[in-house]
Amino acid sequence: MSDLIRRSAADLATALQSGEVSSVEVTQAHLDRIAAVDGLVHAFLHVCTDEALAVARDVDARRSAGEELHPLAGVPIAVKDVVVTKGIPSTAGSKILQGWIPPYDATLVERLKAAGMPILGKTNMDEFAMGSSTEHSAYGNTHNPWDLDRIPGGSGGGSAAAVAAFEAPLAIGTDTGGSIRQPAAVTGTVGTKPTYGGVSRYGLIALASSLDQAGPVSRTVLDAALLHEVIGGHDPRDSTSLTDPLPDLVGAARLGATGDLTGVRIGVVHELNGEGYQAGVRARFEEALDLLRGAGAEVVEVGCPHFVHALAAYYLILPSEASSNLARFDGMRYGLRVEPSDGPVTAERVMGATRGAGFGDEVKRRIILGTYALSAGYYDAYYGSAQKVRTLVQRDFAAAFDQADVLVSPTAPTTAFRLGEKLDDPMAMYLNDVATIPANLAGVPGLSLPSGLDQGLPVGFQVLAPARADDRLYRVGAALEMLLEQQWGGPLLAQAPELEVTA
């Protein structure tokens, strides 16, 4: 395995800037890795070999011409397939969008391109980001590089697995209820869900508009901060985009890496621990708290009593918004068109046949649920009530952040489960997101970083901060990462089993 693919994005950036390596070399090394292992991992739905190398060559040429480039120029990246990329297929893991080639770029893709970051390809995901295991992709499972029989988390299992399997140093994910953080937790990688409105949603194929947020996926906290700064900031094409300038995220990560958290108050969310959480997950969490105390942080327990209702509220709000957002996939303007097997071919019937054939089980389940929740007569009891629970969750966060600068919890209740294990039990699948969902409901930022192994599988540690204070995630995250890596004698992923090279 080439050493290049093991290096962090920050290291690669330095090496590129110093001329030690070229972007073509770095990009080619990752393309070679994809060719070698993606047959096993299946993190990618589409690999953009030519486009990525063209960008790499361009960056190399500009660099040798002395042009001032973005610090990450030449560092390649993988992009979740829910993000619209001009001229490159974007399917959101759904059969209904098979072969759709968008005529425009998402804002965050424009920013990656402006920074000169070669896009390696599009990563696998649960169809329309509905799921916690990537098993709901219409294009097959992604496998967890730690154990190929296990799930890589979801919905962004492809992005997390790509980074964990050294197929990309960085990736873009989207997080509606935990789709960046939970895959990060189960693959031993880092992922951030920024403050709602912190990264433009323009060009993200919407799941639930009021919950969706794109963010960085990486192997180190610093790398996540670097990527977050590339894609974050105001975008006038997204009405919900914040106008505030981004806090100094990279600076916060570097500060955290000194390992000093003196005076930082860390709140342990009582409701996001304990029952329902795997013993090993709890043990790694407690050990991490000890490290944080040792770094000078004050650890307090906080109560967020309404978090117990967050999951229920989430599974009303998300399906409701999704049922409307996904209405446009009807076979009229783009994507799949299926004619009914018998009877007259009318627009109405073609829409029904197309959606019946083009959507998978989970998508159908949630669309029907959302249609029900918005339906006349049920709106107040379901959607209306869920929006009220959202207020209560926000109030809980506000009260908790009075007592603590950041809140912490295990990212997910369990480590990676076996493929197929929860596929027939939607409620069990939904419970994977119990710790990550409150942040989406309230719009606050969250980060997951690896905190150790339980029976050989990674465990995630979640840090939550108040809205607009994403820098706190990176300070506390980088500090914990430094302390843990001191104990481990290197990154956790160094302990991952070597993947068999198939090509």
Binding site: P236, A312, E348, K388, T391, L392
Partner: protein, 98 residues
Amino acid sequence: MPTISREEVARLAGLARIDLTDSELTRLAGELDIIVQAVATVSAVATDDVPATSHPMPLSNVLREDAASEPLPVLDALAAAPATEGGRFAVPQILEED
């Protein structure tokens, strides 16, 4: 007592324009019933004195100036269409007029 009957699922599938097979209808009715009972707990805590939050961030008055931008080239606009004719999207006959 089930909250969501098979007939209700059929009605919702009609509203959502998704053709479902008989077995899908049956299976979904069972699954949705469990899910709905689980999520229905929200109405217990959502008392009248609690306001609803539809946006996580309290923004208002986000407006753009009335200026025209470059439209998509018509070939790009139509490129992904299953069928086109004369610069328009061709769709099957429309029976219901709105």
